[in-house]
Symmetry: C2
Subunit: 709 residues, 2 copies
Amino acid sequence: MNTPFFNAHHSPIGSFSSFTLGEKGSRGGFGLEIGKPADQAVYIGCEEASGVFRFLPFFEYSESDDERSRYEVGGASSEKTEPQSEIRQFTDHQISRDFYVSTDTWNAEDLEFTVISPFASVPDPDAIDTSDVNLRLALVPAVLATLTLDNRKGAGPRRAIFGYEDPHMLQASSNVRRLDDTLPEGLVGIGQGRSIAIVSDSKGVVSGQSLTMSELLGETNPKNLTFALGPATALIATVEPGEIRTFRFAICFYRDGYATVGLDTSYYYTHLWDRIEDVAAFALKNFENLSGIAESANSRIEKSKLSQTQKFMLNHAIRSYYGSTQLLRRSSGQPLWIVNEGEYRMINTLDLTADQVFFELALNPWTVRNEMEIFAERYSYTDRVYYPGKPETTFPGGISFTHDMGVANVFSRPHYSAYEKYGLDGCFSHMTHEELVNWLCCALAYGHLDPKWLSSKITLVTACFDSMVNRDDPDSDKRNGVMSLESTRCAGGAEITTYDSLDVSLGQSRGNVYLASKCWAAYVGLEKAFRDNNLAQLAAQAKEQATKCAHTVAASVGADGTLSAIIGEDVEARIIPAIEGLVFPALFGVPQATSSTGEYSEYIAVLKQHLKGVLHKGICLFANGGWKLSSTSDNSWLSKIYLSQYIARQVLGIDGDEVTASADDAHASWLLDPQNTYWAWSDQILSGHAVGSKYYPRGVTAWLWLSEK
Amino acid sequence: MNTPFFNAHHSPIGSFSSFTLGEKGSRGGFGLEIGKPADQAVYIGCEEASGVFRFLPFFEYSESDDERSRYEVGGASSEKTEPQSEIRQFTDHQISRDFYVSTDTWNAEDLEFTVISPFASVPDPDAIDTSDVNLRLALVPAVLATLTLDNRKGAGPRRAIFGYEDPHMLQASSNVRRLDDTLPEGLVGIGQGRSIAIVSDSKGVVSGQSLTMSELLGETNPKNLTFALGPATALIATVEPGEIRTFRFAICFYRDGYATVGLDTSYYYTHLWDRIEDVAAFALKNFENLSGIAESANSRIEKSKLSQTQKFMLNHAIRSYYGSTQLLRRSSGQPLWIVNEGEYRMINTLDLTADQVFFELALNPWTVRNEMEIFAERYSYTDRVYYPGKPETTFPGGISFTHDMGVANVFSRPHYSAYEKYGLDGCFSHMTHEELVNWLCCALAYGHLDPKWLSSKITLVTACFDSMVNRDDPDSDKRNGVMSLESTRCAGGAEITTYDSLDVSLGQSRGNVYLASKCWAAYVGLEKAFRDNNLAQLAAQAKEQATKCAHTVAASVGADGTLSAIIGEDVEARIIPAIEGLVFPALFGVPQATSSTGEYSEYIAVLKQHLKGVLHKGICLFANGGWKLSSTSDNSWLSKIYLSQYIARQVLGIDGDEVTASADDAHASWLLDPQNTYWAWSDQILSGHAVGSKYYPRGVTAWLWLSEK
């Protein structure tokens, strides 16, 4: 790592919350359901000498008396002196950081602070009793922390501090507060309203609140720590000289009552714990157990053969994924799993789900089933289709799925997304074919693990197949396996892909070799699904479509051995995601489909040759070795790069410096560039600058790296 | 009014919410539970010519594409042109405002916009069925609005618009949204999450959402108004040429579930309506009825003999009071009435209650009972007392009450306030004696209207009397009716008064002639209460204390005929609030106590002479004629000025330009000074600048003016 100062998520699973920390200044803090860091001042530090305090640099320090002057007008301060103390920050060279997937440790002189964010598989709530401790351990909306102060060489007692200040308190419904009077005996805490709590069960920790951190730490009368008006609050413990002590904390998030509108839901955890104080008590009681889970998660990645750079990116991506997760409960009692779309907060954006599916199937396969069922139930629709530019004549289309289910706790009306508009051919147009294929890829991949479920959905799967075929061509003789018709939902416009902010090379759906690769994969998976369900005729049709698709793409290869992004439209662009669909057959249980000696060997060979042909500077490599998804755009998407790196190595057998080492270095350097570090893990990087899809969950495509042989 | 551009609250009763409007720029909007305006951009206007729109100036307009650029990276916009329109603002000279207590009307050319904020007495929830329509009409968490566009001279159809944009949406839990799909048939709406809604039942109104207001209004495909990602949203109606049309709206606020922590409560209205959509439907169904209530409220003030300046200040103050009110329901089902303390949001600050009591007793007397009972139950305490500077020797004290019950939806632990600290003698010290007397004044005034209740509380009232006497002197022979001892809660410091940010003239409790006047009043009221309850001996003791107090103050008069602020401490300051206690005897049912020929005529005469003596420039008048509460501080408090103006005229019979006309002009000019207009009604004005107690409820002391003969 070039710098230890980058924000990272520290997030419980399914609580759409984050203790974001790492960027210098008041740029992290305790965020609940927001699309960015909370921009609070976080104080982690210790007393250096009596009345002088040294902190990690997670706040902007000023000597301002602004908060006091709101109350004391015209010089009305007490004749008794108000307390003050001296606040300093550690210098950069005193600070080091150890960043793992489930622990994040800061060292500065004789201080050590660790945030522990355990994660493991979440049991299927439909298949487990809510009293099961594993469900509770997985879903407790808390991360843990430890603060160690080594005062073995100290001459006097010194205090250790973990606190924060919310500069936006006037805009919030609830004040910062001390929690001691609402906590069970033996616990002390600070937090905000009913939704944020930092609680300790360590002996000797006391809570305090004040107008500023300086006043809080300078307070000489312990009773005055109960003052409840200020935005500054902290947990404080004293370490005697000769001692080294570790204090432990649970950092908890909680949202009561309804969490969403449009569809009424509540957080699943509210049915496991009645209030944030109960969450804290559970987390602290299970501190060792949860820490063990975190260690296991760390080990899983640290023991892998990934490079340090790969581990860094994977750890970072997993953290940002969990920060976007939200497990809700419908009024029917059914669970509802959501991954919010980072800074955009769109609900279960389906083209993200199709990239996160690799991670979800490995950790929590039931979430994929859950997502696909909600899409089928509430966010599907049926359209007609038309040839490009000829919307007046329509043909049967079929079922597809919306781009998303809403945005930021607002479910969109049934059968419509928050995102998709009418009459466009760029950003905000419909993604009908893309999402149809995404749903199929997710459902077929889950179905490989749960064939009974897939059988129960075979009618819907067949409707999806029909819908795909109709988008190829209304005339069965003219079908070539590739999308040719636009949805009437485009109202005269044209469909786009998940690469919505790219130019035609990846933005246009029709004839796109990226989308074609996913169509091919879907047809391959459909063939198997139909065969497994004794639907031989459909299986044969699916195979025919797969073969046509593979052939159409392969036949479009240019004289230079590479593929144009758009088949038959004389487009100059060359794109890496032409290979994307190759990731799926193995997940569908048909790994042989991507074999260089299998049925689709011609297609596979062309894609391999294509990738080799474009992985050059000036085409699909940036000057620094980073991957450029499209030769005609400087906007590249890390999640998709990770995915294609995996396919290159694992499916196509292409490796080398430009595939892995120097590419990874370039990609990590983007994430650690000072202009990007505020946003934790970000996806869209335009010439090194994170310009969109920030604070984003999609980077878990890198999880695939762990399965490379 | 010097300017129409000042923020004012438009608030439903008891919902701690406000549609704040009037200041230019993005400085108003829809605030729920916050201590300041919401700083949103509010769009109220109409189409001037096709595609060109003219609005009232309640937003900062910029042509920025910031919001779009979050999605469109690297020039990915649709080839189909994204819509744009031209946004302009009316100029100042085109705009006029009619500001009443319950309606607020803006006219600009052929546009008229009125916000209707009805208020009437709130029935006692303990004495009425929750299905009673009067309870619902009083408590519906909505204000109403009408928008009229006169297109009778128009050549083509023109659109009328009411919408807003939330620039803080990324920091909020929920997105801005259209409500149509969650509203009953026939209603359309816009809003945010489950908590803000603007809903119309007028024919032809449609809802829309977009990235910016310019794009929203330029949208040519009506289906694209359903786009749900942007922070801009509006209700839009078309007026055909030759028509004048009025569209009506309900502006609704709603908070589900628990509203507070420390003590678990929910909004009372959540037990009357299940969700914000139901609130909107009720408000629109009862539009005429609610408008009638608003007209009655307007009439009550407009038909009074108050001057225009007085009416302006009273209207403004009442609005800010309602913006701070919050009616909750405890888990026991009991109501809990709160007035939050403006920008500070402290809960039921008792020294504010004692000034708001005149208004509350006139409108909703049960709220005073409710507040006093919660203070007695949860926010009382018993202390000991000591002579100033001698904390080591303590004497029996007695019961008193905390300064407040917490802050910003956080109830403080039982028997402690959020505000009071230890060991101080200025701001944030304890107000033990002040709050004891405030509780008594409120309880005795309410008790005069409900003698049975007072009888039921007579043991507590007696304890309060004992507590007062103990703070006079432990030795009964040394008592002079005035506070001499400090509470042990001060821990060595000294008690302060509600004038916490003033110097010793009003800040110090001990020996203060302001506090003495309230003590005198309390003793006068206690005498009557004890007599009414056949407690003759206590009545005699109370009378003795009243007499001693009156005599002590009267005897301290200086050679110039005025009183020093502090008895016997050689303090130069002269203060107007020496007369404050005189407001109470009439409320206790003993108006004769303030008669110039009654038992306390000597005291009354001295106070009258004092007031006349200090109401001069250089003493207790500012250069502009505004009242200066203390001769030694430039910080003056409008609520207290209003109160003392009333006492001067109604109790002491002093009037004239310096009491009323020129003083009122000065006070109104403070509120309308551009540096103060953002904060609606504010209390603490330091040399013309609102420096504290902004956005404040306390100005309803001016309600007393209506009862002047």
